[in-house]
């Protein structure tokens, strides 16, 4: 079971829109961290993902385990929230 979801995004990122759209279509809420508005959290996104890109989606499960998905990757995102 999903406990919460955080998505790191930027203003101009089309793939971020897709992640948000997908999660909304499946009825999931999420916290969005916009790195254009919160550049101080950029390092956090980078540390979690290991890369310099967005979207970075962090799915936290009920047991507090986390899955980090880089990009709009349905192959990983769909099972992570199922």
């Amino acid at each position: 079971m999903v406990k919460n979801i955080t998505i790191f995004t930027t203003n101009t990122c089309a793939y971020c829109v897709m992640v948000k759209k997908y999660l909304s279509s499946k009825g999931f809420g999420y916290e969005e961290v916009n790195l254009d508005r919160n550049p101080e959290r950029q390092q956090e996104a980078q540390t979690l993902s290991g890369v310099l890109t967005v979207p970075v989606t962090v799915v936290t499960k009920e047991d507090d385990s986390q899955e980090v998905i880089v990009g709009f990757n349905l192959g990983r995102l769909a099972p992570a929230v199922s």
Binding site: T10, A14, T53
Partner: protein, 316 residues
């Protein structure tokens, strides 16, 4: 996850060609399902600003244009499934598709999967992918606030994205392999406005992307006029050296591709397979312009309608 199995028209892709075709088919009451594995709007959606699409006197952001096209298609009943088609098999009266959302069939299929940015193909590019080497400025540019960048390419995308990246980077070296830009005159004029931040290096090849401690530190190029190696210290590299078609999933399908991988069609935009059409940036001969893509989307929708009428497959 499963969806309705049998459809009248399936479109693979949801870029400008696909969305335009869907607007036309759905307005004709032809039930239409689109599959999109990436961004709705395709490369248009990841383009910062589009200045040459008619109807927008001041230009339009790629994301905004894409969203408007999506809404317009959905208003007429088009359904966009976020998933991927992995295999197609054209039969006598329908086309079967294997997808990540289950197996489906269509009476007619449109392949409008567009193109993606090509790799430059040098050492370091793969190793530092997304960790210093990027192909989407609107996605990844924000990670380079107050950093130095190298942009590779001399076409419209390279120039446009270099200009976009000036909002983050302190300095950009733009490496152009040829002796002139392929970018439009308008974009070249725009580039000149940013000469305080962008240094253009014509006749310069990109030979290697070099990293240290897991970070990109420089690009090594060659000045073709002198033959000398040149170092470009940088924190990241953005590559825009042309496009390659998204047709890998068609291998073994029987659809004829050209030597690069673009789909060959007849004058009706139909492929070698009956009932399977292709249009937009994925088609051999495409001009890679959004205006052309939407035009082809309209054309192919009309051809699909004619095909379906000819085969009496609408609302059977």
């Amino acid at each position: 996850m499963s969806i309705k199995k049998d459809h009248e028209v399936i479109i693979i892709g949801a870029g400008p060609t696909a969305l335009t075709a869907a607007i036309y088919t759905t307005r004709e009451d032809i039930e239409t399902l689109l599959f999109e594995r990436g961004a709705i709007g395709g490369l248009a959606a990841v383009t910062d600003h589009i200045d040459n699409y008619p109807g927008f006197a001041d230009g339009v952001d790629g994301l905004v244009l894409s969203d408007q096209m999506r809404k317009q298609a959905e208003r007429f009943g088009a359904v966009i499934e976020l998933g991927e088609v992995t295999k197609i098999d054209a039969g006598k009266s329908s086309v079967k598709l294997e997808t990540t959302s289950g197996d489906v069939t269509a009476k007619a299929l449109l392949i409008a999967t567009g193109s993606d940015y090509k790799k430059v193909g040098v050492p370091g590019e793969k190793e530092f992918f997304a960790r210093g080497v990027h192909y989407c400025a609107t996605c990844d540019g924000a990670f380079y606030r107050d950093k130095r960048l190298v942009v590779v390419g001399g076409g419209n995308s390279a120039v446009q994205e270099a200009v976009f990246l000036t909002r983050f980077a302190t300095h950009i070296d733009l490496l152009v392999r040829g002796d002139h830009f392929r970018a439009s005159d308008v974009l070249q004029e725009e580039l000149k406005k940013h000469k305080d931040k962008i240094t253009v290096h014509m006749n310069t090849t990109t030979d290697e992307i070099v990293g240290q401690d897991n970070k990109v530190v420089k690009v090594i190029g060659t000045d073709k006029l002198t033959g000398k190696k040149v170092d470009f210290p940088t924190d990241g590299v953005f590559v825009f050296v042309g496009l390659m078609p998204n047709t890998q999933f068609l291998k073994g399908s029987g659809i004829e591709l050209d030597e690069i991988g673009f789909i060959k069609t007849d004058e009706n935009l139909m492929t070698k397979l009956k009932g399977v059409f292709a249009a937009g940036d994925v088609r051999h001969g495409a001009t890679m312009q959004i205006a052309s893509a939407t035009g082809e989307g309209a054309t192919v929708a009309l051809r699909i309608r004619e095909y379906m009428e000819g085969h009496k497959v609408i609302n059977e």
